[in-house]
């Protein structure tokens, strides 16, 4: 793989490989398929290395490469399918009510990782990804804003709605 002038492949490797596990995990959550996740990560790395010259030093590499991964996914067949079923502009959708019950307490009582993972899987793509970026990858709102190419205000509102949606799904799954 060739790398653009001014940057070294060694630098890219130093920045990219520590994120390998995280990127694969995120890709797997998006694609819901191990081989598609591998393809997505591989394509992300190829694109990132090719476009490494466009990366501004001293800016957030993690947000940059997550953005590449996400855009790559959205343009893939699986990504197009996910986008066609879920409107990305959640501002147009109805507000998801905050939990009226106490799902956290119910969840604690019935804490089962599998249930939570199933609930995350059921989240629409745009909620799933922002929840993972914030709560799993522990990105700041600014990083998420860069990774998803949306304003910080959208990050905040979408994140709130994603958490409410997760609670709703948990409640439904636990009660059903």
């Amino acid at each position: 793989m060739e790398v653009s002038e001014g940057y070294t492949a060694a630098t890219f490797e130093e920045l990219a490989m520590p994120l390998f596990d995280q990127l694969y995990n995120f890709a797997h959550w998006l694609t819901q398929n191990p081989s598609e996740a591998e393809d997505l990560v591989q394509e992300t790395y190829v694109k990132a290395l090719k476009g490494f010259s466009s990366f501004q030093p001293h800016t957030n590499f993690r947000a940059w490469i997550y953005r590449i991964l996400r855009n790559t996914f959205l343009s893939s067949r699986a990504g197009l399918r996910a986008r066609s079923t879920v409107p990305l502009d959640e501002e147009e959708g109805p507000e998801i009510p905050a939990s009226t019950g106490t799902p956290e307490s119910i969840f604690i009582e019935h804490a089962q990782e599998q249930l939570l993972q199933s609930a995350i899987e059921q989240l629409p793509l745009h909620f799933r990804e922002i929840l993972l970026l914030c709560d799993v990858e522990e990105m700041s709102y600014k990083e998420i804003s860069d990774a998803l190419s949306v304003p910080i205000g959208t990050v905040m509102s979408r994140l709130s709605r994603a958490r409410n949606a997760l609670r709703q799904i948990l409640l439904q799954n636990l009660q059903g």
Binding site: Y24, A37, C134
Partner: protein, 251 residues
């Protein structure tokens, strides 16, 4: 009042509120049981999501493949390409020059052999093929002194089938030399002797007895002299005479 804070609790837990608001919400949560319970629930859910979200791990084979794929390649790629190209060009140039050089030498050699064959035939066709007529080498050899810029030795052939007919001065490409005529049975054999340094490169190799221009030819270099033996005699006779000449020169 609590509702105002409730809306900010998630942002507060994410640590994304401005510092003054962080302090205000923090103080409120400590004094509001409802918001404290809400925060506790959200923290627990957040932790559970963090734990459950770290679900998938790439396989070692995939990791190794990706590492190989993005690993820096040797920086010599461009230079090595140029170096390879330059090497190929150099080899081709050398091969071309070599081919031209050896081709040129082969051409010179063929021209020389052709010229010597002409001299041999022309001399035999002449009414006076030799300027010094003698079967005695001790007569023929001194005759060349002062006529050519070198001396040479001739073999004693009296007890063989060879007979010395005589000699004459000749020129090959402006190089002066000795032309001796030997006879064996009914065959005439010319022996040409030149100084090696006077001849062009194409004549400087020893080839053994070969058939050229319908004649058997042998050539060799000895003590700075280039010998050519050419005639219509057999290969064995040509080689025999060459051996005698070599022995005489080295004696």
């Amino acid at each position: 009042m609590a509702d105002d804070y409730t809306a900010k609790l998630a942002t507060y837990l994410d640590g994304e509120l401005p510092p003054d608001e962080m302090k205000a919400v923090d103080a409120h949560v400590r004094s509001c049981p409802s918001c404290a319970a809400d925060v506790l629930g959200q923290v627990q859910l957040q932790r559970a999501v963090r734990s459950s979200g770290k679900r998938y791990t790439p396989g070692p084979a995939f990791r190794a493949r990706m590492r190989r794929q993005i690993a820096p390649r040797p920086r010599t790629s461009v230079w090595s390409a140029w170096l390879t190209a330059a090497t190929v060009v150099a080899v081709l140039v050398i091969a071309s020059l070599g081919a031209a050089y050896f081709g040129q030498r082969r051409l010179q050699r063929e021209q020389a052999f052709s010229e010597l064959a002409d001299l041999h035939v022309a001399t035999l066709a002449s009414a006076n093929p030799v300027d010094v007529v003698s079967t005695d080498r001790h007569t023929v050899k001194p005759w060349f002194q002062g006529k050519i810029p070198f001396t040479f030795n001739l073999p004693e052939v009296q007890n063989s089938e060879f007979a010395l007919a005589g000699g004459r001065v000749t020129y090959l490409g402006q190089a002066p030399g000795a032309h001796l005529i030997y006879q064996i049975r009914k065959h005439q054999i010319s022996v040409f002797i030149f100084q090696d340094r006077d001849l062009k490169g194409g004549l400087s190799s020893d080839l053994g007895v070969r058939k050229r221009h319908s004649f058997e030819v042998d050539t060799w270099s000895q003590d700075g002299l280039r010998y050519f033996v050419i005639g219509d005699a057999s290969t064995a006779d040509i080689r025999d005479l060459a051996t005698r000449l070599k022995a005489a020169e080295s004696s």
